[in-house]
Amino acid sequence: MTPIDRRVLFHFNWPLLGLTFLLFAVGVLNLYSASAFRLEDGLSVNPFYQKQLVWGLMGLAGMAVFMVFDYRHLQVVAWPLFGVTICLLVGTLLFGKVIYGARRWLDLGVMNFQASEMAKIAILLIGAKLLSRGQRPLDWGHLFMAVGVGMVPAGLIVLQPDLGSALSVLALLGGIILYRGVRWPVLRLMLILGPILAPLGWFFLHDYQKQRILTFLDPGADPRGAGYHVIQSQIAIGSGQVWGKGFLSGTQSQLRFLPEKHTDFAVAVFGEEWGFFGCIILLSIFCLFLYHLFLAAQDAKDRFGSFLAAGVFFYFFWQILINMGMVLGLMPVVGIPLPFISYGGSATLVNFCLIGLVMNVSMRRFVFKQA
């Protein structure tokens, strides 16, 4: 392992770290409010924010781990890691614990392990490794090869069944493919075929998933049932108006009209209490954060590093797009959390680690000069 260069520290990506901390701080603050209930005799706060803080500290440790080594070594690790992931996914299917009718967790004694989380990191590395090779936009052959690699873990995850995670894996890979670029005739055909084939996916959906899509198209059809989340979430955000109702003063969240307010709908609590003003600031922070991921991809020393950063960009981008789209009523309800804002232990850990990885890339951008 290359010893840590002084320049590495000199080129430390402070803005990205700062934005990450800022988002995390906003998230914890909001979580405090989101986990509060008003009862007859005052406020009762669930300790989610404390747990999130603990996970954040662990995330910092993970982040440090992901920064110290030279990211180029990951190219070597990529395939073995991929292999292990496949084994774990197969193992999950064979020996996993059944919870809510799905076999998603491997019992490792101390903790339950979700192999699908690991699959995302494996795909990130494999995607970056495979697609950073070569310069020209992908033709059919390369495209099929890349997609084929992604289909293996995705297929295994679908069998659990966990369509959401499988699509996340494919979306991550798809993002990296788009970053690499595909040849125009290929892209053109995809743009045409995509909308045509998408409706066929309907037949692969579960009833509850179909219901969510129908609800998205017409939330008023069942306001107390399927449409409840969507309607209450929009009421929460909309009622924040310009300046918001103030910290701990959101009626939709404090009085429990808003469901899942500390996880998937946490940003609705934020919108209710901080209003349009606060939301635009939060959205700006997210965009700045994404922009710095983009800068890291742009300034990376090598293509592998650039693709790693781009992969992380997409990892966050999809989550932000889908979660906020759902909360703002622009997309069907999908159980995807908002990075740093929604409560979630392992997600927070992974988020910090991936930021660590990008910082790893960006602070080593001058190291090669002497090599």
């Binding site: 909309g238 939301c279 994404l290």
Partner: protein, 596 residues
């Protein structure tokens, strides 16, 4: 500048970098626009919805005014009633829930389902729909303990009206009952399940008794748990009323008519206030408060004695000889000298017909005073002949007959004082002169209500003022009109009434300790035609229906106290013999028993 530092072949893909920037910009643009749309463009709408989520407006019931009798005894009170409510929104399994309620209460499931179906449009899904009005206490405890297992069921406390005396004051007070759909449409301040006056004073004085509901904002969370309440407007209680009725006297009067159909009124002539107001038979008004079953209703409706009929104001009868007081007044008003006499031979020849006096052997020479005391028909045939329908009719109307008295009770009937125009319109015939004679003795078309008679006699006693009959002490007496008689003329009539008690048909009332005057009347009931209906009846019943109505109109004065007592007994036979003892018992109570 940093891109230059990258080695050959390691530059990031240009199109990819452009893509990432576009994605960031697109994300910002789309979400910022959407936030503007939700929070600013539709912000107020959502703000309102959030408030609607959080605050439930709830009415605070205003206590209905209490009613007391003259001495302060409560006769209409409010009590809590425990009703079973159904909050549809919280119900998991409607069929099972209704089945359970049916098992508890014994009400058929279909009836409950019908009620829910009927009310579902009017009552919001989160408001309790009242399934069962009044839960007995044992059942209440059982249901209360089980509501946990039946989400959506809850015990609702509502005020209910209770009349401790029941039938005794049913015709005075009437009753309240659950508001009907038409009433709801007419009055926006009413809500489903409210109790409103339906009959009696409860109906007529509804606006005074009801009070005004208050409004409170209840703050609730998503589970409906109450977190606090904020009173927006306080309720204001309805007006308390004090009846002019003396409960002890009322009770006595009521039982004097037990088993009879008729009415008995005791009025204070100076104020028009009624100390007793009886219409028999009566009904239990408490039955109506929580809803009458169809069986109970059918029983009341089909009772041949018509207990719902408020006979003192709603039944108009031929007045019989009582009307001679009015005709005598009409004569005096028209300038007939009280000295003018008639010679009674037991009949009065008019045209080709002879009109009979009730006394076959005749009264001999009678003036107005003797005519009244003896109730000589011939004297009044002659007087009626002289006066004619127009003058009799005008005087009777000016004395308050043929029109509503305006008492604070519903369904009052005006009775009837015939006139030429009336007959032409009604029968398409001219008025026959012979009809003047019938009218003069109180038969024929005349129909009067007991309350009109009481008001008229009161006016004779009180100096000529026709005062609106009243049942409460809350309102000052209202003088509606004056009798068209001078003091001397009234005194003559009163003197005739006193002598009637001393030596005429009302001797039963005679007492030494007070000045009592009276006039009896016997109203011929129009004979039932011999029909199939008659054949089906038993003999005694038939006789009952054929008997004449008995009237007696009296006044009593002792020191500075004065009363007017009017009694009317349907099919009571002769006025003096049936109604007389009833009124005597009243004066015994008023002036003391052993004074005669």
């Amino acid at each position: 500048m940093t891109t230059n530092l990258e080695p050959e072949g390691q530059q990031p893909p240009r199109s990819g970098l452009i893509l990432l920037q576009c994605l960031v910009l697109g994300l910002f643009a789309v979400f910022a626009l959407r936030l503007w749309y939700l929070q600013i463009h539709r912000g107020e709408e959502f703000s309102r919805k959030a408030r609607d989520n959080q605050l439930r407006r709830e009415a605070i019931y205003a206590p209905r005014g209490l009613i007391r009798d003259r001495v302060g005894k409560l006769v209409a009170v409010n009590e809590p009633a425990y009703a079973l409510g159904l909050v549809r929104e919280d119900v998991k399994d409607m069929a099972a829930t209704l089945a359970q309620v049916s098992a508890w209460t014994g009400i058929p499931v279909e009836d409950l389902a019908q009620r829910v179906g009927h009310l579902r449009k009017r009552i919001k899904p989160f408001e309790p729909l009242i399934l069962v009005q009044d839960l007995p206490f044992a059942l209440l405890a059982r249901i209360e303990a089980n509501t946990l297992f039946w989400p959506g069921l809850e015990i609702v406390v509502r005020p209910k009206r209770y009349y401790p005396q029941g039938p005794l004051l049913a015709h005075v007070l009437g009753y309240v009952a659950e508001v009907s759909e038409e009433e709801l449409e007419r009055d926006p301040t009413l809500a489903m399940g409210d109790l409103v006056g339906k009959n009696g004073m409860e109906l007529i004085l509804e606006n005074r008794l009801r009070g005004a509901k208050g409004v409170q904002n209840l703050e609730v969370d998503a589970t409906g748990r109450r977190l606090g309440e904020e009173v927006v407007t306080s309720p204001s209680a309805g007006e308390n009323l004090t009846l002019s009725i003396d409960l002890a006297l009322q009770e006595l009067c009521f039982h004097l008519l037990d088993g009879q159909a008729g009415s008995l009124l005791v009025m204070d002539p100076a104020t028009g206030r009624l100390l007793a107001y009886v219409s028999q038979p009566a009904y239990d008004n408490n039955q109506f408060v929580l809803g009458l079953s169809s069986k109970q209703w059918a029983e009341l409706r089909d009772d041949p004695m018509h207990p719902m009929q408020n006979r003192a104001i709603q039944s108009a009868y031929p007045p019989g000889s009582v009307f001679k007081l009015v005709v005598a007044g009409a004569g005096l008003h028209a300038g007939v000298s009280p000295k003018d006499t008639a010679f009674c031979t037991g009949g009065y020849a008019f045209g080709s017909r002879v009109f009979r006096c009730w006394k076959k052997e005749g009264h001999g020479t009678v003036d107005m005073l003797r005519g009244l005391v003896q109730s000589c028909d011939v004297f009044f045939y002659q007087l009626g002949d002289r006066l004619g329908v127009d003058r009799m009719s005008a005087f009777a109307k000016a004395s308050g007959f043929g029109d509503l008295t305006g008492i604070d009770l519903p369904h009052e009937k005006p009775g009837l004082i015939p006139s030429r125009e009336w007959k032409r319109k009604r029968m398409g015939e001219a008025w026959y002169p012979g009809e003047n004679l019938n009218m003069a003795i109180g038969q024929g078309y005349n129909q009067v209500t007991p309350i009109q008679v009481a008001r008229f006699v009161s006016a004779l006693v009180n100096g000529g003022e026709l005062i609106k009959p009243s049942l409460t002490m809350n309102d000052d007496p209202v003088v509606q009109d004056h009798l068209q008689l001078t003091d001397k003329q009234r005194d003559l009539i009163l003197e005739a009434m006193v002598e009637t008690v001393q030596e005429g048909t009302a001797r039963v009332l005679l007492r030494k300790d007070a000045r009592i005057g009276g006039k009896t009347g016997t109203a011929q009931v129009v004979r039932l035609k011999a029909s199939e209906a008659e054949k089906r009846r038993k003999l005694e019943e038939m006789e009952y229906w054929e008997r004449d109505h008995a009237w007696i109109a009296t006044f009593g004065q002792k020191a500075d106290r004065a009363y007017v007592v009017v009694c009317m007994v349907e099919h009571g036979g002769h006025g003096g013999s049936t109604a007389g003892p009833v009124v005597k018992a009243v004066y015994d109570y008023l002036f003391g028993e052993n004074a005669s």
